[in-house]
């Protein structure tokens, strides 16, 4: 029995009937100007409620994504007067904040470059969006490909708002990163002759996404984590940074951590700090569902901002075109772009395609929203929600009968549990919040505008412009994770930490008072609260 109710089966029939036609149908890619029109009309970033002006700090007067502004205009959850900065709990050369792929890569490289390193993270080491990345890592490794082509695709994908020196570094390092991961023992998908399998992702002109089945991020993460433990780099779990520390010379000099289980705080003094705290998804920008992990609450943006770091492109949020819409229990969960890269098509309730599936994510998401919200071509679920079809059986039809099981075993299994056989039936999808395109501005060496503070991965801004291409974020975290680790270790060798201070936090709180801003929120948020509303009202502190 199918996991789809009869009401949805009708539309699946139409999808089956049009499949032969669709297999031969070519939909050309939109010229850049046409894409801009579609985005302005349908991308959620252009909704009136999407962004708000921030009234203080380095980006004062600019519009940033609304849910972030609420946290930037909140009081610190730390009372600086209650912290004793003379009692140092940990004294290191390099402090890495964040235990995803970027943070762990940074810690490995900082140690290789001679630094005494410590890594601290909010949840477990590895709890991150890295571990959830399915599709793979982009790199121009094929003969018919080149870093120039990768540069062009990334820049156009980011709508020409990327920092060009930063993406030059990205595409330069990409093949080196694949070599590095392979050398550490990551189990890449491999052809019988030993060459690595590469797939398409939207917006790339060549097949260049290197995968490890549909668990690419998991594979990279567990290997790097194992390597970090092999090299005995000290780690602290369940201990997020709740403010950065500065010294009296204006250098970033450590952080205050919170042990979330005992509520004790720790003072970490460091000669350099690497921020690798990830993104914003669990704030649910524009109230979308999200693919992100539990800890994606923009903590790093908040603490860096209070310390004086500027943000770039933080009005631009990425909505992934294919989040699960049915079964309801899987709402918003990622269906990897590699499905489209391997031939799955997007189909409306009438069995029609409406966009080239390998357009950039912002474009495909906007086309999906247009199809459902403007054209009324969505498929309605028993929950009253709507989506469009991702025709997954095409993957086997265009490849071979075993391709879905071989490359997308996780998807086959997860839907199988709900009675949906994705080899025979399509998946109902809808855009879901996926990525924070902007963040703390960095240069090609992952350096922020604050001496001693580096940023890598989703928390950073400049790499992805205002729209990221598939495969470029697993790349980003390792390129700038490694670069930040190397640079931070070098910087640490040259400097002496002055007198520690939290003056920036005191001053920030003071400014909020002067502006008369009080929104009853404390930040960083650390964790989202998914209790049901009526229970929230009756809980005691």
């Amino acid at each position: 029995m199918s996991g789809y109710p009869a009401s949805m089966q009708e539309s699946i029939k139409k999808l089956n009937e049009t499949r032969d036609f669709r297999l031969k149908q070519e939909i050309p890619r939109l010229p850049f100007a046409e894409r801009e029109k579609l985005l302005h009309a349908h991308h959620p970033d252009y909704r009136a409620s999407a962004n708000a002006e921030v009234h203080l700090g380095p980006n004062k007067g600019q519009k940033l994504t609304l849910k972030l502004v609420q946290l930037l205009e909140a009081k610190s959850r730390l009372d600086p007067d209650k912290v004793d900065l003379n009692k140092i709990d940990y004294d290191v050369d390099v402090l890495v904040i964040g235990g995803g792929g970027g943070g762990v890569a940074a810690a490995l490289l900082a140690q290789e470059n001679g630094a005494k390193v410590m890594l601290t993270t909010k949840l477990r080491v590895g709890d991150s969006n890295t571990i959830m990345a399915e599709g793979g890592i982009a790199a121009a490794t094929k003969e018919i490909d080149s870093p120039e082509r990768h540069f062009m695709d990334t820049l156009g994908g980011g709508r020409f708002k990327n920092k060009r020196d930063v993406i030059s570094a990205l595409v330069h390092d990409a093949p080196l990163i694949v070599e590095w991961l392979k050398g550490l023992g990551c189990m890449f998908d491999t052809h019988p002759n030993g060459d690595l399998v590469v797939s398409f992702a939207g917006g790339h002109q060549r097949k260049r996404v290197h995968s490890c089945k549909d668990l690419s991020g998991m594979e990279f993460m567990r290997v790097l984590r194992d390597e970090m433990y092999n090299r005995q780099i000290p780690t602290l779990e369940f201990s997020p940074a709740i403010e950065l520390l500065m010294d009296d010379q204006g250098n970033c000099s450590g952080a205050i951590l919170l042990n979330m289980e005992t509520k004790q705080y720790y003072v970490v003094r460091a000669k350099a700090v690497i921020l690798a705290t990830g993104g914003i998804g669990r704030l649910h920008p524009n109230d979308f569902a999200t693919t992100n992990h539990y800890g994606a609450t923009a903590d790093g943006l908040v603490i860096a901002y209070r310390a004086g770091a500027n943000l770039l492109n933080m009005e631009a949020i990425q909505y992934h075109p294919t989040g699960a819409m049915w079964p309801h229990q899987m709402l918003g969960q990622l269906i990897t772009e590699a499905c489209r890269g391997n031939g799955a098509q997007l189909v409306n309730k009438n069995g029609e395609r409406y966009i080239n599936e390998l357009e950039t994510r912002d474009t495909v998401s906007s086309a999906n929203l247009r199809e459902v919200q403007e054209r009324g071509n969505g498929i309605i679920t028993p929950m009253g929600t709507q989506g469009v079809w991702l025709d997954t059986p095409l993957i086997n039809i265009r490849g071979d009968a075993g391709k879905l099981d071989r490359m997308f075993a996780g998807i086959v299994r997860r839907f199988g549990e709900y009675g949906i056989d994705v080899r025979k039936e399509p998946i109902l999808i809808f855009p879901t919040q996926h990525y924070q395109n902007g963040g703390v501005e960095i240069d090609p060496y992952a350096q922020t505008c604050i001496p001693g503070l580096y940023a890598a991965g989703e928390v950073s801004g400049g790499v992805q412009g205002i729209n990221r291409l598939g495969g470029n974020s697993l790349l980003d975290i390792f390129v700038f994770g490694r670069r930040s680790g190397t640079r931070a270790a070098e910087f640490a060798k040259k400097r002496k930490v002055g007198k520690l201070t939290l003056k920036h936090v005191t001053e920030y709180n003071h400014q909020l008072e002067q502006l008369g801003i009080s929104n009853d929120v404390e930040s960083p948020l650390l964790l989202p609260n998914y209790m049901r509303e009526d229970i929230k009202q009756v809980t005691l502190k």
Partner: protein, 226 residues
């Protein structure tokens, strides 16, 4: 989520929760705010391993709280952590993989083939089979059979031989991927070109173009066929 409430027992306490929720969303509906036992919320990370029994059935069952649905009269507890320390090793220096395997994980010989691990795996993997493959020195099979492991640790919590199967599997996959499958020639050729600076001028030229020029080139790209 339906209006129908069903009883579940969280660590022995009864709550009535809506049918159709996962264990994780049901616990949040009740009022839990997780610190441990919650990670990716999408079945990838293994943070939320859960053991449960159903009323009238002796069988101990396992699942991920973010994936498994609540069932009437389910008695459950999360197992968000299990003590599984690992012995460090140097991946760059493995001469004899069999010897290394037995040195790092001497307990591997204590596997009696009971299969308790396979019953505990929320991903439906069979550690018993990949451990057997490893003991035969069949790295390829061991690597492939264990690939979907999320390292939740539930197998280790049930192992009568006190093995930590997921750590053994990770060592084997790393060994296999690094040593048995050599670095592809095309990748080595490309990284040499990168190190020789072959593309530096080309990228620099693009980086210095005007946005107008770049937009024109962008629309003229030729795409590889799918």
């Amino acid at each position: 989520m339906s209006d129908q409430l069903i009883p579940i027992y969280v660590m022995g306490k009864r709550y009535d929760v809506p049918e159709g929720l996962t264990i994780m969303t049901a616990m949040e509906w009740i009022g839990y705010k997780f610190i441990r036992g919650c990670g990716c919320r999408g079945g990838f990370c293994g943070a939320c391993g859960t053991a449960y029994r159903l009323a009238g059935d002796y069988k101990l069952r396992f699942g991920l709280a973010c994936q498994a649905l609540v069932q009437p009269n389910m008695h459950l507890t999360q197992i968000p952590f299990y003590p599984n320390p690992k012995t460090p090793y140097n991946i760059e220096d493995i001469k004899d993989p069999v010897e290394t395997l037995l040195t790092l994980f001497p307990e591997i010989k204590k596997c009696v083939g009971c299969g308790a691990c396979a019953k505990a795996c929320p991903e439906g993997l069979r550690p018993i089979d990949y451990i057997a493959a490893a003991l035969r020195g069949d790295w390829k099979t061991a690597a492939e059979l264990s690939f979907d492991c999320l390292m939740c640790g539930l197998c280790a919590s049930r192992c009568t031989g006190e093995l930590v199967p997921h750590n053994i599997a990770l060592f084997i996959r790393r060994y296999y991927s690094k040593y048995v499958r050599p670095m592809p020639a095309n990748l080595l050729a490309r990284t040499k070109e990168i190190r020789d600076g072959k593309f530096d001028n080309g990228v620099k030229k693009l980086a210095n173009m005007s946005e107008e020029q770049l937009k024109k080139l962008y629309d003229q790209r030729d795409f590889e066929k799918i």
